[in-house]
């Protein structure tokens, strides 16, 4: 095993950053598959950022907490169904598993949707009425992010008798165990890989159809492209904004379930924060405001981050993601597919 020293000046005599490209070569397919799984989750969260940005030119900084709320929402639903942590649902057969997954996903979507829409109502709408500058929106979003996190951290455990929230991650409820279906090179494609990647593709696909082919979607695109004329065409801007937050919330809720399938130990009050920033990076990478860009950006970010992880080590994963964000913003701030909601079609 060869560890190369990146720099070997007199002051940097030790290995400061060691990397091992051969390691990626050995695990190329596995790392790519892992990356795609992450990418699927990033993509779904990124859609929320992208839609809101497209319509409002606002970075909804609190979207990561919308995602976090979704995790707790689906967890609470499973608890309400009588699941015990560390129990397994698939013992009751695939049909029930799918049913439970469906219920969990719906619950996650519902909670995230409600959180996203109330966020819009409580925090952002009053600012819009006052024509506040963008900075004020961002600071409000940060405040909302604090409030949602700390609510789950401190208040929720008291409300639920310690069963939800608090300082520790929730005890995992595993609905699906990872089982290898077939292998590609060195990588194994598991049932979870399929669930994650296909769900992301299907859900972003549906969103794409809703936005590009339905009447409501036209409303959203109209507001994004020209709010004044959209109003003149009878589009209620407020309703469109609410709908946008709702769609973003629903997808974040779906992402929350997928995330907990992948990382059952991830349900914790601050579990959305870093993921949210990365999902935002994904949105920017693909071209913020562009739905397909969010999917593309999510997958690229997930894969790049995982490759980097195999080369530099587990502890460099976040650095790679943030460095990618900074680089993209510096050199191509409009992203791979360009900005502007709905323009990808045209």
């Amino acid at each position: 095993m060869s560890f190369l020293a990146l720099s070997s000046g007199p002051l940097l005599s030790n290995d400061v950053i060691s990397f091992d490209i051969a390691n990626l070569g050995r695990s190329f397919f596995q790392s790519t598959l892992d990356g795609l799984e992450w990418g699927a989750i990033y993509a779904l969260v990124a859609v929320g950022y992208t839609l809101v940005y497209g319509v409002l030119r606002l970075i909804n900084f609190a979207h990561s907490e919308v995602f976090m709320a979704g995790m707790f929402g689906q967890y609470a639903a499973l608890m309400a169904l009588g699941f015990t942590p560390n129990g397994n649902a698939y013992n009751e057969g695939p049909v029930m598993t799918i049913l439970y997954l469906g219920i969990a996903m719906l619950a996650g979507m519902a909670v995230s949707c409600v959180v996203a829409v109330s966020l819009e109502r409580v925090a952002y709408r009053p600012l819009r009425k006052r024509s506040a500058p963008p900075l004020v929106f961002l600071i409000t979003a940060i405040g909302a992010s604090f409030v949602l996190q700390e609510f789950v951290h401190f208040v929720l455990p008291n409300l639920t008798g310690q069963t939800l929230g608090g300082v520790n991650a929730q005890q995992p409820i595993k609905l699906v165990n990872r089982e290898e279906l077939f292998s590609v090179g060195d990588g194994s494609v598991s049932n979870l890989t399929l669930i994650l990647v296909l769900s992301a593709l299907v859900l972003t696909g549906i969103t794409d159809i809703i936005v590009n082919r339905t009447k409501f979607g036209r409303g959203i695109r109209a507001v994004a492209q020209d709010p004044t004329t959209a109003t003149l065409m009878g589009v209620s801007r407020e309703r469109v904004i609410m709908l946008t937050f709702a769609i973003g919330g629903i997808l974040a809720g779906a992402a929350a379930l997928l995330y907990t399938l992948k990382i059952p130990n991830g349900i914790i009050f601050n579990g959305g924060f870093i993921l949210g920033i990365k999902a935002f990076s994904a949105a920017v990478l693909g071209g913020i405001g562009n739905l397909r860009g969010a999917l593309l950006g999510g997958l690229i970010l997930g894969v790049a981050e995982n490759w980097g992880q195999y080369i530099f080590g587990n502890n460099w994963k976040d650095v790679i993601a943030f460095a990618l964000l900074v680089l993209v913003l510096m050199f191509r701030p409009t992203g791979i597919l360009g900005e502007k909601l709905g323009r990808a079609r045209a």
Binding site: L138, I139, G143, A144, E150, F151, F273, N315, W316
Partner: protein, 433 residues
């Protein structure tokens, strides 16, 4: 992008024009304070300000029972306040004056602290205080202080040069990424920084060494037996630095630099068209802000004598931003008040069992601080986005004289016929060469 047709949408654009500030608006206490302060003359301001600073400096010595903290040492709290106040002043230059939202400011704080740590901690491979180093143990901290500020300022330059061309909200996210990268580097480059083990025994100013204070008054263990301990000394040191930084920043503010910053904040395009080299001044703001952050980081490293990456996480960045927004973006005094609230309030409740006539669980209140800060931010942004003490910069070096000329001094000037050069009219003489 903007076709000629679109650009001629004149009527909409004019909707931006505000209504006249007509009618009786309610004046909040912060506004009252500002109006009162502005109404004082410069000497009066000094006459009020200096005793106030002295009072503030004496606060941790006197430790009035209702004000002093219970669960933690008041001197230490005030020392932390001093550092956060410095940070708030630095961040205010970037966010408040120039209008660039920086969410990764903690990165500069970390760079400052790590510069001191790396150069003076025996744990670091770059330690210069031991054998063969070029720093004497006694003066190490003071010698490294300017280096820390300079390196932090350079890091601001490095970050700012490529990113300051970005629009506001993008800039916010890039800086957030930068802040995280700095922390992660401090964590991952463990051959240099020892990662999570941190750098200990960082140098501090060895001043006032005596029999009772073997390592000087800034040493971690110093206490004179009474209320004056090392925390108080660090508070005084930061107070001194705050005053110096305030004078410097004030000088900048009351010059073309400050005018350019505010102009950029108000309308960047118009500013550029009026001849302001916007990019250069944004970069200056970034570099100056970074330098002040580094100064505060160096203070932190000296006081705690121990730096680890966990102290520099994003949530601290948000807390710094809270201080600035809470106090009043753009207002130097305001953001210092904001820093005080952010540091003092949680500590005030810590260990307290009663507040006025209620029985409370102070620790729980302290625990919930981020919840309260979050709520405060939302409410403030909706109802009072300008902060507790809103901004009204003085952007002219001799603007004060205009102000004086405007109010109450007219009788005096009436004695001097226009055009006369009698020495009586100092203000006029000074302004008109």
């Amino acid at each position: 992008m903007s076709t000629p047709a679109a650009a001629s949408g004149k009527p909409q654009a004019r909707a931006d024009q505000p209504k006249p500030a007509g009618g009786k608006e309610k004046i909040a206490i912060g506004d009252r304070f500002r109006l009162w302060w502005n109404s004082l003359s410069r000497p009066t301001q000094w006459a009020v300000g200096v005793p106030f600073i002295i009072l503030l400096a004496l606060l941790p010595v006197v430790r009035p029972p209702g004000i002093s903290t219970v669960g933690t040492d008041f001197g230490g709290v005030m020392a932390q306040f001093g550092m956060i106040a410095l940070i708030a002043i630095g961040l205010n230059v970037v966010v408040g004056q120039t209008g660039l939202l920086d969410l990764g400011y903690v990165g500069f704080y970390a760079v400052g602290a790590y510069t001191v740590g790396l150069l003076t901690s025996p744990d670091s491979p770059w330690n210069q205080t031991g054998d063969g180093g070029w720093l004497s143990a006694k003066w190490a901290w003071l010698a490294v202080l300017p280096i820390a500020v300079a390196i932090t300022a350079i890091s601001g330059l490095i970050l700012g040069t490529p990113t300051l061309r970005l629009r506001g909200d993008y800039l916010a996210i890039v800086t957030l990424g930068f802040g995280e990268i700095v922390r992660l580097l401090a964590d991952n480059l463990d051959t240099l920084t020892r990662g999570g083990q941190g750098l200990s025994q960082v140098a501090y100013p060895r001043l006032g060494e005596s029999d009772t204070a073997m390592n000087g008054v800034f040493a971690a263990g110093y206490s004179n037996g009474g209320n004056i301990n090392n925390g108080v000394w660090w508070f005084w040191l930061s107070l001194l630095l705050i005053v110096l930084v305030l004078l410097g920043v004030g000088n900048l503010e009351r010059s073309r630099v400050g005018r350019s910053w505010v102009a950029i904040r108000e309308d960047e395009d118009a500013a550029e068209i009026m001849g302001v080299p916007t990019f250069r001044f944004k970069l200056w703001a970034f570099v100056i802000g970074a330098g002040i952050g580094g100064l505060s980081g160096a203070l932190y490293a000296g006081q705690v004598q121990f730096v680890v990456p966990t102290n520099f996480n994003v949530i601290n960045s948000m807390l710094f931003l809270c201080a600035v927004v809470l106090g009043g973006q753009g207002n130097k005094l305001g953001v210092i008040l904001g820093a005080f609230i952010v540091v003092y309030l949680p500590n005030y409740f810590l260990g307290r069992t009663e507040f006025l006539w209620w029985n409370i669980n102070g620790n729980a209140i302290a625990d919930y601080k981020y919840l309260f800060f979050g709520l405060a931010l939302i409410v403030l942004m909706i109802f009072r986005p300008q902060g507790l003490i809103p901004v009204r910069q003085k952007l002219m070096t001799y603007g004060r004289q205009i102000w004086l000329a405007a109010r109450g001094k007219r009788t005096k000037f009436d004695d001097n016929p226009a055009g006369s050069d009698k020495p009586g009219s100092t203000a006029a003489a000074e302004v008109s060469r």
